[in-house]
């Protein structure tokens, strides 16, 4: 079964790339990143960077398995483990989450009202690395059908 990305791309007769993928590929190119640890969408990103199992100075973490909901608290635990054990000093973790798949076990009413801001604040205070960039899809008004909601993306530096 084709992924949403494969299906969407297969309809174009010319080479095309989805903006959010292109942004990451360009980031890797401009930073001379040739290998990375990859969690999620491994097959796709392996075309652009060599996947490695050992510690690396770049980690790609895609949380977008539409068959599985996730809990941000558990995700943070896993990300902190990744940062602590598999990311080299000064290494960068790229995180892209499908925020619609979140199903927490508990809720925090003190977080900002805006969901994007809430995610950013939550991650900033729980991820054991510095937030460098947050790419928040704030301008999706729903006036055009999306195959998938654009991912909410972050770069953290150890």
């Amino acid at each position: 079964m084709m992924s949403w990305r494969e299906q969407q791309l297969s309809w174009f007769h010319e080479p095309v790339m989805i903006q959010q993928d292109h942004d990451l590929v360009e980031y890797m190119k401009s930073n001379n990143i040739t290998q990375a640890r990859i969690h999620g969408d491994v097959e796709f990103f392996s075309k652009h960077v060599t996947p490695v199992e050992h510690s690396s100075d770049f980690s790609i973490w895609i949380e977008n398995d539409t068959t599985q909901l996730f809990d941000f608290a558990l995700l943070v635990d896993r990300l902190n483990h990744e940062i602590q054990h598999n990311l080299l000093t000064n290494g960068v973790l790229y995180l892209a989450v499908n925020k619609f798949l979140c199903e927490p076990k508990q809720y925090d009413i003190a977080l900002p009202e805006d969901y994007n801001d809430a995610i950013k604040q939550y991650l900033e205070t729980t991820i054991q690395a510095s937030l460098v960039t947050a790419l928040l899809p704030k301008h999706i008004e729903g006036n055009k059908f999306n195959w998938v909601h654009p991912l909410t993306r972050f770069y953290f530096k150890k």
Binding site: W11, H13, L69, F100, P104, Y107, L111, Y115, F145
Partner: protein, 180 residues
């Protein structure tokens, strides 16, 4: 290389239209459908932009104009193909046919990751006097702050029902807005 967004599609040929006709509706459980049926008031029913080809209800159906060109689509006797922004045309037909129930059922085309207040506003645009609008949407496709609120919180805030992983919003002309 051309860069596209997640809402870009190429020219609409049969292959793309067929995929779109599947992707533009969300699977709907019998539990949710049964609850909708229970909520219907006596009178005619219209089902809007919900993939009418998957329902057998005696209703007036409105579907996106682009699907008219799809040869494999199952059509109903009373099926109109319009664009989602042609609200005046739809409401005129709804009034002329004295529709009492205006349904949006798990429509990806209509709901499309919108936040709840936008969804309710869009649904209200189609309301006509003496009728009720009912909109169902999977919770997973609705934009709300999931770190802060549960589905039950959202249902309570917007006077919705939370049934089988879906929200059911009901409005008539005397209760269009967001509850205080």
């Amino acid at each position: 290389m051309k860069i596209i967004q997640t809402n870009n599609v190429p020219q609409l040929d049969d292959t793309v239209l067929k995929a779109l006709s599947t992707a533009c509706v969300y699977p709907m459980s019998d539990v949710v459908m049964s609850r909708v049926i229970d909520c219907l008031i006596p009178g005619a029913t219209a089902i809007l932009f919900s993939g009418g080809w998957r329902f057998n209800l005696d209703a007036i159906y409105f579907e996106e104009k682009k699907f008219k060109a799809l040869p494999s689509i199952k059509t109903h006797d009373k099926m109109y193909f319009v664009t989602t922004d042609n609200i005046d045309l739809v409401t005129t037909v709804l009034k002329k046919t004295s529709v009492k129930n205006i349904l949006f059922l798990h429509s990806a085309e209509f709901c499309n990751y919108r936040c709840v207040s936008t969804l309710i506003d869009c649904m209200n645009d189609y309301l006509i006097p003496g009728a009720q609008a009912i909109l169902t949407v999977p919770t997973i496709r609705t934009d709300f702050n999931r770190l802060k609120y549960s589905c039950k919180d959202i249902a309570q805030k917007y006077s919705a029902e939370y049934v089988d992983h879906a929200f059911i919003f009901k409005r008539n002309q005397t209760q269009q807005g967001e509850p205080a």
